[in-house]
Assembly symmetry: C4
C-alpha cells in the first residue's frame, strides 16, 4: 500500500498565517477561538487542539480538564470528569470555514475508549440528548457516527443535530485519513488518564519521609482491601 | 460491527448530581467516598477513579501510589509498590448502590500486566488470601475472575469472597463493555509505571551541570555493568 | 525468528567519545550540534535526539516544541504546532559523517501519525515544497519515502531533494531495523501529544477550589456542547 | 485460555517484609540495594525497579537517566543516553537470593526497542563486550537471550557471562510469564523516551510570550528545514 500526501507546504504548519491569508468573513476561526477562550476567566490556562481541514467541513479536537472539589480532609476529588470536545464547522468556500455554524460534541471517557479501540472495519455511533431527564427530553438529539472508509484507509465522521422544536436537521461530515485518525487515537489515549484526573492523583507526590521517623500511612493502600 | 450508546445525557457526566438525585439511603456513594478519604491525613492529596454503573453492581477503579523510604545516601527507594484498587458495590434498586456492602480487590503490578495483555477471547483469575503465612491462612479467600462476553464485546467481572469462619460467600459481578475495558486498559497502562515508582525515578532530574566543571557521576550508569 | 546485535561495546553508548575517536574533519557532529543549538537564544533549553548510524548515512530525530501566543484573556493558545525534525547526513568514510551535508525534513503531526501507524508491509511517502504558494513554487522539492525491508525486519528511509534551479538532486538513504523503528515509533508516539501542546493544555492545572466557595467555572466544559 | 495466579498474599506486596522474613546471609537484597545507592552522591534521587522472583533466579529491572552536558548557549544536550539495567541474581535456597553473585546487563535504547516489539513467537539475543575497541577485546563476553516459552505464555531469559581469562562461564536464567513481560514491556515503553531525554526536551517549556511583544524565535523550528 502506498500513501501519499502531496507537496504539503511548510507554511501549512503556520496555522494562523494560512488562515489569515485564506479565510474571509467577519468571524474567522482565529477570532472565534480567541472569543471562545476569552469567555472564560482563564489567565494562565493553555489551549491546544488538533484540527483537520477538509473540503466540506473541518474538525477540531480539544481536551478539557476534569474539575475537582475539596474534601473536608484537605485533599480533593474529581467531581466531574473532563472530556474531549469535538467541534465541527462547515466550509463556505475553498478553504473558508464558518466557525459560527459550529456543532459541538463532547466525548465522555467511555466514548473516548470506544474510539481508540475501534477496529479498521468497525463502526460506532454515540447519541446525546442535552435535555434528557428534563421536560424537554427528546427535543434536540445529537448523534455522532464513525464509519470505516474501507481498505483500512480511515473513517468517515458525521454529526447530525435534530431539533424537533425548530424542525431542523443539521449535518456536518468529513473523511479522516488513517494517519489523521492515528493522531486522534494517540492524542485521545494520552488525554484519557488526564480527563479522569489520574495523572493528578498519581503525580501529586508527598515529600519523602525522613529517615528518622517511621512514615505515617498517608495514602489509601492495598491493605485496606483487608480492613472490612 | 455497530456499537451503540443510546442517548447518554450530558448530565450523566456530572457524577455527583446524578447520584444526589438518584441515590437514596443514609450512606451514599458520595458520602462514602468523602469518609474514605477523610480517614487519611491527606491534605493536598488528589483522588480520581473510573466508575462503571451497571444493573446489579458498580465497579470503581482507583490508582494508589507506591511508598518510598529514605536511604542513608539521602535519596529514597520504593519500599512498597502501589496498586490499583477495584471496589465493587451492589445495586439495591434502580440506579441505587449500597457502598457499605463494598468488596475490595487491590491489583498488584503483575495482575495489572495480566489485565492489560488480556486477549479478546482470554480469561484470567486472581486469588488473594489476606491471612496467608499467618495462622488464619485460608479463612478468607478472595477471587477475581475476568471472562470474555463473546464476540469481542467485553468481559464479565466477578468477585467472590469466601469466609470459612463465618460460612459466608459473597459475590458481585457486572459486565464491562469493550469501550469501558479500553478505558480501564488505557488507565491501567498509564498507572503501571507510576505504581512502580518509575515516573518518580525518571523525572526527578538533577540540575544541569555547569559548563565550567566536569560533571561528577551522580547516577548509577550503564558502566556499572562492567564493574564486577 | 532470531535477531542478533553482535558485541555492541558499552562505550558505543558514550556517543561523544565514540565520535571524538572516530570522526575526522574540521566540522564534527558534536561541533555541529553545539553550533546548531548556539544559533538560538536557548538558555535553559534541553536538547535530545535519537540517532542511528549506518554505512552510507546517519539519521537523527529530534522533537521540536509548539509555540504559544497570548490570548487577551491572559491564557495562551498554540499558534504553531511543533514537529519532529529528521536530519540525514552522509557517511564520508568508515564511521565518519559529514554533518555539513545534512538534509532536513520536519514531520508534521499528521506525518508522525502516518509513520506510527505504518504496518510491517506498508509504505508511505511525504512531499514538501518550501516555496509552495510563492512564486518559487516547485523550484525545490523534498520527498521522504519509507518502504519495508521485507520479512517484518524494518524499513528503508530515503530522502530526495530536487533543486530545479541548481539542477541538482541529492539523495540520502539508510535501512532502519525493526528494533530501531520501534524506538522511533515509541518516541514519536510520546512526542505527538507534546508537539500538539496537549500536555501543556492538560497539565496546566488550576489550584484546587477552596471548600468554602462554590468553584467558578474556570474552564471550557462539556456543557458548552449545549449552549447554542 | 485460563491463567491462574494462586493465592498471592497481600503481604507479598510488602517487598521489604517478605525479604526480611525469608532471606538469610550477611548480604541481603535489601542491604545490597542500600549499598548500591549509597555508592552514589544521590541526595534527592529516587530509585524504583520491577523485580520478579523465581525458583532458580530473580530479575530486577531499573531505569537509568541520561546525562546532559552544558552548551555554550546556556542550554544543555544529552551527551550519554540512559539505559535500563537488568540485574540477575541466583537463588541459594527457597526464596533466598544471593545478591553478591549478581550479573548486570544494561539495555541500550535500541535493545529496549527490540524487547518491546518482540512478537509472541520471536526470540532475540544481545551481545555485550565490555572491552571492545581495547586490547582486552573478547576477554569477557556477555549475552542475553530471550526465547518464547511457547503458547504465548511468556519468555525464558538467559544471561551468559563468558570470561576467557578466568576460564569461567556463568549462567543465570528464569522464566517470565506473559503478565510479567507485559509489565516489563509497559515499563520499558514508558522509560524509552525518558532514557533518550525526550521528556526533558519536550517539557522544559519556556514561559508564555507576553501579549505586547512579538515572540522571539526561541526554539529550533520546522522552518530550519528550509534554511540551507
Amino acid at each position: 500500500m502506498q500513501r501519499l500526501s502531496r507537496f504539503v507546504p511548510s507554511s501549512s504548519r503556520r496555522v494562523t498565517d494560512l488562515k489569515d491569508a485564506l479565510w474571509s468573513g467577519s468571524l474567522t476561526f482565529q477570532h472565534a477561538l480567541s472569543t471562545f477562550a476569552a469567555d472564560e476567566n482563564t489567565s494562565g490556562r493553555k489551549f491546544a487542539s488538533y484540527t483537520v481541514f477538509k473540503g466540506k467541513a473541518a474538525l477540531s479536537m480539544q481536551p478539557i480538564l476534569p474539575s475537582f472539589s475539596k474534601l473536608e480532609s484537605g485533599g480533593s476529588r474529581v467531581n466531574k470528569n473532563g472530556s474531549v470536545m469535538l467541534t465541527f464547522f462547515p466550509a463556505v468556500g475553498q478553504r473558508k470555514y464558518d466557525y459560527s455554524k459550529k456543532q459541538l460534541f463532547a466525548l465522555s471517557p467511555t466514548e473516548v475508549g470506544s474510539l481508540i479501540s475501534l477496529g479498521p472495519a468497525e463502526s460506532c455511533e454515540f447519541f446525546h440528548d442535552p435535555s434528557m431527564k428534563s421536560s424537554h427530553e427528546g427535543q434536540v438529539k445529537k448523534s455522532l457516527s464513525v464509519t470505516p472508509l474501507g481498505n483500512d484507509s480511515g473513517y468517515f465522521l458525521n454529526i447530525t443535530v435534530l431539533n424537533n422544536l425548530q424542525k431542523t436537521t443539521e449535518r456536518l461530515s468529513l473523511p479522516i485519513s488513517k494517519a489523521e485518525f492515528t493522531v486522534m487515537r494517540t492524542a485521545l489515549s494520552f488525554a484519557l488518564p488526564h480527563i479522569l484526573g489520574w495523572d493528578q492523583a498519581l503525580t501529586n507526590h508527598q515529600p519523602s519521609p525522613s529517615p528518622a521517623s517511621k512514615p505515617r500511612v498517608e495514602r489509601p493502600h492495598p491493605d485496606s482491601e483487608w480492613e472490612r
